[in-house]
């Protein structure tokens, strides 16, 4: 079953094969979890949101058009599900607008000075990223934050892999210059 394409797995799910959906979850748990985490900013909440997203995908499977690629459809259903969940949560929790800061992993720094320096750099990186044009920033975020492959990003953005290469190239170049300005 691991060798089946997404579309073949989707067809099996619609034929009532529960294991096929387990394979889909196995295959994309990382991406959907990362999506939930990035949108919500909380690990525990991301677990619930990602789980809810997969349930939504399962319930919506009959809407999937087998003529199209499965992953972009699935990702969008998951995204809409997560956004809906976040909009329903209490207002005192961090709003959507405040999430998405880029931070180093918590254990990376060994002492307060290092932690401070890392936080400073993280803020500089966030500011630099925000200055990037959307069509350059999006591939970078999808690649580094979401961990998507070239193939997946191409499908999500509906661009060729050579166009993606070009955007990543230009985006990273621009980012490096912006970051240099930030740090100077």
């Amino acid at each position: 079953m691991e060798r089946l394409t997404d579309e073949q797995l989707a067809a099996l799910v619609l034929a009532g094969d529960g294991q096929a959906f387990a394979q889909i979850v196995e295959r994309y748990q990382k991406q959907i979890f990362a999506l939930a985490y990035r949108l919500g900013g909380d690990y525990d909440e991301a677990k619930d949101m990602a789980q809810e997203a997969f349930i939504r995908i399962y319930n919506e499977m009959h809407r999937y058009d087998p003529q199209r690629r499965f992953f972009p459809w699935m990702y969008r259903v998951a995204h809409n599900c997560c956004v809906n969940l976040l909009q329903k949560r209490p207002k005192d929790l961090s709003p959507l607008d405040d999430v998405g800061e880029f931070r180093p992993s918590l254990n990376a720094a060994e002492n307060p000075e290092q932690r401070y320096a890392q936080r400073e750099f993280g803020e500089s990186l966030t500011r630099a990223l925000r200055q990037l044009p959307e069509h350059y920033r999006t591939p970078i975020v999808l690649k580094y934050l979401e961990g998507f492959s070239y193939q997946q990003i191409s499908a999500l953005l509906d661009i060729s892999q050579s166009a993606l290469e070009s955007r990543l190239f230009r985006g990273r170049n621009m980012l490096r210059k912006l970051l240099q300005e930030e740090l100077d």
Partner: protein
């Protein structure tokens, strides 16, 4: 193979991403070992990649996540539904399908980006022009004969199909107001990360026909004219741009206007030896070019200043370029997808993530009509988009 210094930065990034062939890798490494300047550049590239990876750590789901999901799934498997076959329309019948939807906000156009906190607004390559299609709450069999693009489901449980004798009535029903309330931005097929916005746009399906492509729309005043090829003959149809009335058959015609004529560009491909479509802005100041071949891309230049062309998008390669007002023009990429480019904002946006055969502006310079492919229905429909 030999590598030149000017290629090193690009190749370094591809190398880091694991996109180089062994031969290219070998050539790059050899060049880096011989060129200290490029080696330093390579180190900068590696450092940025490391920082991005470190500061944007990929999070891992907890152990046992798959089992948790499977345990939480509903007991019943998803119902297998299939699309309902709509009644085939007879040529020359009254209106085949004309579905005017209440104008709705489909998602904010995401323009300049300063200060915006990254927040995923939309994603996916779904080609449906109507954003709310994926937003229907729970799976519900729909028995009404509604057009595929109106946001309602067009599926029905297997074995429960029924012939609908009056599809025109159902298909011509204006969409419910609720249909237009979706604001999740799903129509924007690219992933947008900015909150900043200069406005919104609406998208309306003007005409769709079972089994026929509606093509080559153009606007004169408030009248949209377009064509159907029925039994080898070309039919001219018209629909009002604003009033929501059904389209009507006008007459059978011999010819229809050319793509370049209705979009307002010139085809200079023959002179250049590759795809080259150019259009001048209404004020005569700027010239935009949709270029294919090795120089593929969208270029903008000052008409008065030779050599002023600048690449504004690496898309392009399509067969359309068309100015609206002096600040924006449409273009198609090599896959026929329709984009709009805002000159002052230097921003390109994907308008329709499926093949577009032709497009034309209304006189206001903001409203565009186009013939876009509807994958679900398997033919081209006429859409109207109103842009900021």
């Amino acid at each position: 193979m030999m590598i030149k210094c000017r290629d090193v930065e690009r190749l370094s990034q591809l190398y880091i991403d694991g996109r180089l062939s062994p031969e290219q890798t070998f050539a790059l490494r050899r060049h880096l070992s011989q060129c200290p300047r490029c080696a330093a550049l390579y180190q900068q590239t590696v450092q940025l990649d490391r920082l991005l990876s470190e500061y944007m750590p990929a999070v891992e789901p907890p152990a046992g996540f798959v089992d948790d999901v499977m345990a939480a799934l509903p007991a019943n498997p998803p119902r297998v539904l299939r699309r309902k076959t709509r009644r085939q329309l007879r040529p020359g019948a009254a209106v085949a399908a004309a579905l005017l939807l209440a104008a709705g906000i489909y998602g904010a156009l995401q323009l300049p980006l300063a200060g915006g906190t990254p927040a995923l607004l939309a994603s996916g390559e779904e080609p449906e022009p109507l954003a709310w299609q994926e937003q229907a709450a729970e799976p519900q069999p729909v028995y009404a004969q509604v057009d595929v693009s109106d946001g309602e489901d067009v599926t029905t449980p297997v074995g429960e199909e029924e012939e609908n004798d009056t599809p025109e009535q159902a298909e011509n029903q204006p969409a419910k107001e609720d249909d237009a309330s979706y604001s999740g931005g799903a129509y924007l097929p690219t992933v947008a990360y900015s909150k900043e916005s200069v406005g919104s746009y609406s998208m309306i399906l003007l005409a769709a026909y079972e089994d026929y492509d509606a093509i080559r729309p153009h606007v004169s005043g408030d009248t949209v004219s377009y064509y159907l090829r029925v039994d080898g003959k070309l039919q001219l149809w018209q629909v009002n741009l604003h009033d929501g009335q059904d389209p009507h058959f006008v007459q059978t015609v011999e010819n229809m206007p050319g793509l370049s004529q209705i979009a307002g560009f010139t085809d200079e491909s023959e002179a250049y030896g590759y795809a080259y479509y150019a259009a001048v802005s209404p004020d005569g100041v700027s010239r935009a070019v949709n270029c294919g071949g090795e120089a593929k891309g969208i270029y903008v230049a000052s008409v008065a200043q030779e050599g002023s062309a600048r690449l504004v998008s690496d898309l392009g390669g399509g067969r359309l370029i068309s100015w609206g007002d002096n600040n924006k023009f449409l273009f198609t990429d090599e896959n026929g997808l329709l984009h709009v480019y805002y000159v002052a904002e230097n921003q390109e946006l994907l308008l329709y993530a499926n093949s577009v055969r032709s497009a034309a502006w209304a006189e206001d310079g903001h409203t565009v009509v186009f013939s876009g492919y509807d994958s679900a229905a398997g033919h081209y429909n006429i859409y109207k988009a109103t842009l900021p």
